[in-house]
């Protein structure tokens, strides 16, 4: 996978960035390092204000890092202006030039690159065909719908064949249906163009659907980085677990002899590095119902919702907290609301989290 002789598409080393001066300094990125492989679809995921957009802007060259280095395909660009970096950006607002037609927009970078007129025409045609906007070449951006503008912005950024395409929440302005369509198209485009994509989003579902790898960010740091399945199934931090999908978080105490005690008589077989208070996490679909007294814990069914292929039960635990459990249809009849049930937490489905 990672070949030492080929430098990664993007290499970020110990980058820090803060805004403001003196006592008004606001740290935005704190010692961030990451490598993005060539042709990878890499996503920075996090809530607003976590620094993901700043990191993208640093790579594009719109901001300058206070510390650290940024290299694109082995070439140090830390101090290079945006127009000397082999990357292109799809902006959240698209930023299509309103005074130019669609084809003039797409040709913009090609003109700057000094391509011959014929070559420009061919490339513009190809780029517009790739996003199926060939019929709109002579229109102005103001005459296009949001989804069409989105496609033109993509074509404009792809036409100069950048090493890395940076996408800053490009789908956030679209309605849900169009967003789903564009997600598929983005994925296809990336495969066709064979270009590294760096995608920024706060939408965890979008991140999981599209990416080869995801980096979850919070407060200027990368908490966890890995393939979507790993992020979803094996979250390392409480924040990551909570941010992605539905999950149950339980407070417990790691025992010196092994095992985590969740309450009186409720011990799950887990080994923790250090004894003391821990938070454990388990997905609603990984917990199972059992007969009263035979599970890890006993619980009361507070409410059940029918989801089509499964039931979602909201259970009350002895300590007063609630627990979500997703019961597939094949696993027997659902318990009645108000009834007592047992709750089995399989050891292999439980994650012990860092704070």
């Amino acid at each position: 996978m990672t070949d030492a002789s080929v430098p990664p598409a993007v290499s970020i080393r110990n980058v820090s960035k803060s805004f403001g001066k003196g006592i008004y300094t606001v740290p935005v990125l704190d010692d961030v390092s990451l490598n993005i492989d060539r042709r990878e679809f890499f996503t920075l995921l996090g809530p607003s204000g976590c620094g993901k957009t700043t990191l993208l802007r640093l790579i594009a060259g719109f901001e300058t890092a206070n510390a650290g280095t940024i290299a694109i395909e082995g070439q140090d660009v830390t101090a290079a202006p945006p127009f000397h970096r082999p990357v292109n950006t799809v902006f959240q607002s698209y930023a299509l030039f309103p005074h130019l037609t669609v084809e003039q927009n797409v040709a913009f970078a090609l003109v700057e690159q000094g391509l011959a007129r014929e070559a420009i025409r061919t490339r513009v045609g190809e780029a517009l065909e790739m996003v199926r906007m060939g019929a709109f070449a002579r229109r102005r951006p103001a005459e296009l719908s949001g989804g069409q503008q989105q496609r033109v912005a993509l074509a404009r950024a792809l036409a100069p064949r950048p090493r890395v395409l940076l996408l800053d929440e490009p789908l956030s302005a679209l309605d849900l249906k169009l967003r789903k369509e564009m997600q598929l198209e983005l994925k296809q485009l990336q495969a066709e163009a064979g270009i590294t994509f760096l995608f920024v989003t706060h939408d965890q579902e979008e991140a999981l659907t599209l990416s080869d790898r995801v980096a979850v960010m919070q407060a200027g740091k990368i908490l966890q980085m890995g393939p979507p399945r790993e992020i979803y199934e094996r979250p390392t931090h409480r924040f990551v677990a909570d941010f992605i999908g539905d999950i149950n978080l339980l407070e417990g105490e790691a025992l010196p002899g092994g095992g985590v005690r969740l309450g009186p008589g409720a011990v799950v077989p887990l080994t923790c590095a250090t004894p003391g208070k821990v938070t454990i996490a388990i997905r609603p679909e990984r917990a199972r119902l059992a007969t009263v007294g035979e599970g890890t814990l006993d619980a009361t069914v507070i409410h059940s919702a029918y989801l089509g292929t499964a039931m979602l039960h909201k259970l009350g635990l002895p300590d007063g907290s609630t627990f979500l459990l997703r019961q597939s249809e094949s696993s027997g009849p659902p318990p009645e609301t108000g009834s007592r049930v047992g709750l089995t937490l399989p050891g292999e489905a439980i994650r012990v989290l860092l704070q």
Partner: protein, 257 residues
């Protein structure tokens, strides 16, 4: 009756309109009066418009006004454009710089005109068209600055970032994105500055030398020897030109492309 409307809105509006525009309407009406005495109506005629075309001093004054307005407005627009671009980012003293730029809007023109005259005399500057151009440029700057600034404020910096991202250097970005997007504001600013210069009397009156009368100054001196229908005709022409230009600048300023 619409409860959200004040009573007599229409009546009051009409009264205000009359108050504002009756003098102008009377002036235009009498410019088509055939009678030599400007205040007695006989019958309609366009002969006074023909007369102003034949009068060499009016032609000279009109030419002076035009040259002055074009030069002053061009210089003022250039300076205003530079000022608007440099006050775009926040810096220490930005507020002060903007206040100084817009000062001519507040200062009493008579004071500035007299001060300019005294300065030019003290420096030994020859009074005439060149002196007027310098003075006109100065007070036209805010009129050019405000529309350009408004346009610039409404323009997101993302467009320039996008241009740089697409390999355009700072200069190329300015040429291919900033300037074209700013153009309607620049045109609006130029037009406003042009009209302001065209219309100016006080400064021109103080600084005009022999043979460099502008149209407003000519009208003023002509009117001292009695109101003639000719004056009505020139004034009507000036009015129409000014209104057309301001309308044009308004239209350009609102263009969104």
């Amino acid at each position: 009756m619409n409860p959200r409307r004040f009573p007599f809105t229409r009546e009051i509006s009409l009264a205000v309109m009359a108050y504002l525009y009756v003098p102008v309407v009377v002036l235009i009406a009498y410019s088509f009066n055939a009678n030599r005495t400007a205040t007695i109506w006989t019958h309609a005629s366009v002969s006074w418009y023909g007369r102003i075309l034949e009068n060499p001093s009016i032609q000279a004054a009109a030419w002076n006004s035009l040259v002055l307005a074009v030069c002053a407005a061009t210089a003022a627009t250039l300076l205003a454009l530079l000022a608007a671009l440099s006050t775009r980012r926040d810096f220490l003293g930005r507020g002060a710089a903007e206040t100084v730029l817009n000062m001519p809007l507040i200062l009493p023109e008579i004071v500035v005109a007299v001060a300019t005259l005294l300065l030019f005399v003290a420096l030994g500057v020859h009074l005439g068209l060149t002196a007027m151009m310098a003075a006109h440029t100065a007070f036209c700057i805010p009129f050019a600055y405000l529309p350009i600034r408004a346009r610039l404020d409404g323009m997101s910096g993302t467009y320039e970032e996008a241009a740089q991202d697409l390999y355009a250097s700072r200069f190329r970005t300015f040429r291919r994105v900033t300037m074209p997007m700013l153009w309607p504001g620049v045109m609006a600013g130029f037009t406003l500055a042009f009209v302001t210069s065209l219309d100016d009397f006080l400064t021109s009156f103080f600084l005009s030398g022999p043979g460099t009368t502008t149209l407003p100054v000519y009208i003023f001196s002509a009117i001292r020897s009695g109101i003639s229908p000719e004056i009505n005709a020139i004034s009507a022409v000036m009015l129409v030109v000014s209104v057309l230009l301001v309308a044009l600048s308004f239209f350009l300023g609102r263009l969104r492309r």
